[in-house]
């Protein structure tokens, strides 16, 4: 039992990885080998960076003890701002930087309001979900801008690798995932993030700048959501104001399925990716095995509940161990 608790806290994503393996095997068998075909993998891996990047930001923020429900709207707002500016010929890079500046402003505002007025970030970012979505629609003016032909979309959308299996966006995703993972496990800042979410009072008493840590995580979550939205818009070659709706909940589901604790302090980047991949695999697998696609949300919902129940069961088990030891 004690070992189970250790494994859960140190490698909370293991259960997700096991489930992923099972699902892949089932879908591969039931689809008669289509699931793992290059064409299908290309589809799954092409979409993964978009959900995955959002899930990474949301997970890091959850580890430090806060929520961000505005990511789905920021996902749409960032590329809309960038596309509107590109249409006005200010150039690709300035337009993108302006888009990121908007993301940064939203992330910092989320953090500032949450901390300054001591309200749950769940509420702050729920408000921001509506505000950012509304801004996106207003900016688009009902007529989504047309992306110029000469922008370097290939930086994100080009198929590469053996058999063109992945897109360039996958490399960005892997690089960011490695950096975020290293930040959490190899640096002192990672220690501060985990302690801030694990036990705020203790972290503050040890002189950790807990508010600064939280602001940084809000900022990261917003920036990654915006970047993910940009990648999707470049892939679809059209900035629609409705993209990313419901993505915030998929991201939270991915984090939780990957072992991130809702109470903070526990979670990994790998877990978030496994969670996001599980969601993508379920989505794709259901279609391939000709199950009614409307079961997709049912499956994600059931999986999320199962993951939280399993996690809280493990935590209760852990507490009883502690009492025995005491």
């Amino acid at each position: 039992m004690r070992n189970l608790f250790r494994i859960y806290l140190e490698k909370p994503e293991l259960a997700g990885i096991a489930l992923l393996a099972v699902l892949v095997a089932v879908f591969e068998l039931r689809s008669g080998g289509t699931f793992l075909s290059p064409d299908n993998l290309r589809g799954i891996l092409g979409l993964l960076p978009e959900v995955g990047l959002v899930a990474i930001g949301v997970t890091v923020l959850m580890i430090c003890g806060e929520f961000d429900l505005s990511v789905g709207s920021v996902f749409a707002l960032m590329p809309m701002v960038a596309a509107e500016l590109m249409e006005r010929n200010i150039g690709f890079l300035p337009a993108i930087l302006a888009g990121f500046a908007v993301c940064a402003a939203i992330g910092l505002l989320n953090g500032f309001i949450t901390l300054r007025f001591a309200i749950p970030s769940f509420i702050t970012t729920l408000g921001m979900l509506f505000i950012a979505r509304s801004l996106t629609v207003v900016i688009s003016g009902g007529f989504p801008p047309v992306l110029p032909d000469d922008i370097p979309s290939w930086l994100f959308t080009q198929f590469i690798g053996p058999g063109g299996l992945i897109r360039m966006s996958f490399l960005w995703f892997v690089a960011i995932a490695l950096l975020a993972s290293a930040l959490l496990s190899l640096t002192n800042v990672g220690n501060w993030i985990k302690s801030t979410g694990g036990f705020l009072e203790a972290a503050a008493a040890m002189g950790i700048p807990v508010n600064g840590v939280k602001m940084g995580c809000f900022l990261l979550s917003s920036l990654l959501a915006g970047f993910a939205g940009l990648i999707q818009v470049l892939r679809l070659a059209s900035p629609l104001p409705s993209i990313g709706e419901g993505l915030e909940l998929q991201a939270v589901a991915a984090a939780v399925i990957g072992g991130t604790a809702l109470t903070g302090g526990v979670g990994t980047v790998l877990g978030a990716i496994v969670g996001a991949l599980l969601i993508r695999v379920i989505d794709n697998g259901l279609v391939l095995t000709q199950v009614d696609a409307n079961w997709f949300k049912f499956a994600v919902g059931a999986l999320t509940i199962f993951a939280v129940v399993a996690n809280s069961w493990l935590r209760r088990a852990a507490r009883s161990i502690r009492i025995e030891a005491g």
Binding site: R2, F5, R6, L9, L186, T187, N188, V189, G190, N191, W192, K194, S195, G198, F199, E201, A202, A203, A204, A205, M206, G207, I208, A261, G265, V266, A318, I321, R322, A325, G326
Partner: protein
């Protein structure tokens, strides 16, 4: 004689109308282990929160090793060698012992502006030593603090203070919510301070505990120090009668 490690001169503290500290004068010599007793609401926690940089006094002066001290945060106090262990645990249960020991003071392999890569090997090595130094026997410094008992956690907190060469260790009711056995373990850790030359302030509402591990006893009531004497020169009965 060397300067007192900590000295309060005419310290006052108000909380929105509550006069929590009234003209507190106090001087603690290096190496002393002082027990601070008093009823709930006497002002003990308020006094040590001022010493540990959590609150600021509204009037009066604070001297650390003879020098006037301005402490705006716990970090400032820690820099001056004052470490505080609170009744509610000051450890993060979801993190390992090694990571907790170095929380906020992580050794870095490379870094700029205080941010960088952890020297995990050094953290592991030094935390094993630190734990052994307070006679705490744990399997590994990679164990999670959440797996430890309450007494063991206080032991790790004390090991942390010792490791960072604190000059003054303040313990605010560290034995609250602990079993008798665990409490005795913590009292043992406190007795271990003196041989290592660490000055201590041990807050407790149990006068018996204070007599088991302190040199000197100070009693507070209604925000004032009402009693201050060496343990050898007084008795449990005398203090109980007065409080």
């Amino acid at each position: 004689m060397s300067a007192p490690i900590v000295e309060c001169r005419g310290v006052h503290k108000w909380y929105a109308g509550v006069h929590a500290l009234k003209d507190v004068n106090l001087s603690i010599a290096p190496g002393e282990v002082v027990g601070l007793v008093g009823d709930n609401g006497a002002g003990k926690s308020t006094l040590i929160k001022i010493l540990s940089g959590v609150h600021r006094q509204d009037a009066g002066e604070l001297l650390i090793e003879g020098k006037p001290a301005e402490m705006r945060s716990p970090k400032d106090a820690m820099r001056l060698g004052i470490e505080t262990i609170y009744q509610s645990n000051s450890m993060v249960p979801t993190m390992s012992i090694a990571r907790n020991l170095f929380l906020g003071r992580e050794p870095l392999r490379i870094g700029i502006f205080g941010v960088g890569l952890l020297d995990k090997e050094r953290m592991r090595r030094e935390s094993v030593h630190a734990i052994a130094d307070v006679d705490l026997h744990l399997r590994s410094s990679e164990a999670l603090v959440g797996e430890l008992s309450g007494g063991q956690r206080q032991g790790v907190a004390i090991a942390r203070a010792m490791h960072f060469k604190s000059k003054l260790l303040v313990l605010d009711e560290p034995t609250n919510h602990l079993s008798v056995k665990e409490t005795n373990k913590v009292l043992g850790f406190i007795r271990g301070l003196k041989p290592q030359g660490v000055t201590g302030i041990f807050i407790s509402h149990n006068i018996h505990h204070v007599f088991q591990c302190c040199d000197r006893v100070i009693a507070m009531a209604r925000g004032e120090i009402v009693f201050d004497r060496a343990v050898d020169a007084t008795s449990i009965d005398e203090i109980q009668e007065m409080l």
